[in-house]
């Protein structure tokens, strides 16, 4: 379906090819003609089709929902996580953001905690390790309570929702010069710590999630690149909130364990 003002543009794709985790990797250049109505991932699909026809290996990249909510896609496009359009995941980026004759450089999200699996696909499972450490609440499932039994203040609900918008794509880590995962972790901590249901495990959660985060990722220096890269525009305020809660947690957990 064409919107009427779509045009066909020719772009040069300079893409990172890496044949497995231990391979060195290098850039390869391909030419692709594409309609401006196509999404970025559709462009890669077409490129892979022609690579298949030529008998070459297609480019490995990840995607799932392709509507910006699953957080599976994500590559560096021209030096920016998720490409040039703000508040947009790679799958929602369209070729109309590019001009005829553009060279588009595509590189995987890089961090020591995100080893490359192949080409543009990286292993983001360290983010799952952070969630495992405390990104949940414990509830009884036997006799589920009424949905609206616990009143939540509107402001708290709104802010928790802003944090919960995080799709865990890892763009914050990719964009961070320090490869820090502060924005991701603080969003996950923030969305539970702001709600009454998250209070029981608030202090153990904060301490444990931060400490697992530090096993894999770097240290925040407040550049703010993560916020700019975030497809959900998570606020830096959550990082401040986490930093405050972490040191508080160190004190509270000690008191809770009866040492003070």
């Amino acid at each position: 379906m064409s919107t009427g003002n779509a045009e066909i543009i020719n772009v040069t794709i300079k893409v990172w090819r890496q044949n497995g985790p231990s391979d060195d990797g290098h850039f390869e250049t391909y030419d692709q003609a594409i309609t401006t109505d196509a999404s970025f991932l559709e462009m890669l699909d077409l490129l892979n089709d022609s690579l298949n026809e030529q008998g070459s290996e297609p480019i490995a990249f990840e995607s799932d929902c392709r509507e910006g909510i699953c957080g599976t896609c994500g590559v560096m496009i021209n030096g920016r996580a998720h490409g040039p359009q703000k508040a947009t995941a790679t799958c929602q980026l369209h070729m109309r953001e590019f001009k005829d004759g553009d060279e588009i450089v595509v590189e995987p999200f890089r961090a020591a905690g995100f080893p490359v699996i192949r080409d543009l696909a990286v292993d983001r499972s360290p983010l799952d390790r952070i969630i495992e450490a405390g990104g949940y609440i414990s509830v009884n499932t036997g006799a589920a309570s009424d949905a609206n039994l616990t009143p939540v203040p509107k402001d708290a609900a709104d802010q928790a929702f802003d944090a919960a918008a995080c799709i865990g794509c890892g763009a914050c880590v990719a964009a961070c010069p320090n490869s820090a995962a502060q924005l991701f972790t603080s969003a996950k901590i923030g969305h539970l710590a702001l709600l009454p249901q998250g209070q029981a495990e608030r202090w153990s959660r904060t301490e444990e999630m931060v400490e697992v985060m530090e096993e894999f990722f770097g240290s925040c220096t407040n550049h703010g690149e993560c916020h700019e890269a975030c497809p959900k525009e998570i606020s830096l305020d959550f990082i401040a909130f986490m930093n405050r809660d972490y040191v508080k947690a160190k004190v509270k957990n000690r008191a809770l364990s009866g040492q003070a």
């Binding site: 560096m76 240290s219 407040n222 401040a240 909130f241």
Partner: protein, 279 residues
Amino acid sequence: MVQTTNERYRVTPLRSKKRSWPFPLNIYQTAVGRKWVMALTGIGLIGFVLVHMIGNLHIYEGPARMHEYAESLRTLAGGIVPKGFILWLLRFGLLAMFGLHLHSAITLRNFSGQSSNKATLMGGAKKYESGRDHIAAGYASRTMRWIGPIIALFLFYHLADLTWGWWLGDDFVPGDPYHNVSESLASLPVAILYIVANIALAMHIFHGAWSMFQSLGVNNPKYNHLRRGLATGLAGIILVGNLSFPIFTQTGLINEDNRKCPASEINVLECLAEQAEGH
């Protein structure tokens, strides 16, 4: 590539959890805690730089008042404690803050450097093969790890210059800061060095004074917009005050032509003290 599902693929942690030190030292073992220390010592150091700059403005009141100010620092708390006692306490406090600030900065740089496959040597920042676009990270925030060591080197020069008098030699008169400052900064290369170093310091403060609010989690949506202004204001005031000294020495406002107590005299300090009393 064949995907194997029977074996769970796990990314190995870059660093494992260390045995924790006793509370509250265990806070310093973590990066978030170390950023707290960085921020708290940063507040102390900014406080010192600000007070140091304001105190030095006494130089515009002439050699006698400047001497009186220097002397009053040594006699803080009056006769209750030995002369110079409080000053030395403050100096040790400063040294401790500076040491902690440096140690946390260096270890956090390494921490971040380890977390990227390819990190720059000095800044420890991640590199992309194809280069990258910085959107939010300004010049000041990206040069923190460069400017820090530059300030440390300048600090050493500054102490050697105006506290220990290494380069002025026989011309250095302990207790007569007006003379020492005007002697040292009269040389154009030295004045330029002070100007460059103070611009670097102001840039460091420009990012640091904003960043500390984030690190400490001092965060309130109502007042957040003021943080940038506060950091700019602080850096600006410190910059203007500190730049005035080399500039006004070069333009001749700070000079020794009309001194009543020539620095070459043997009892110059007594002369300055008498002049200050008669003021």
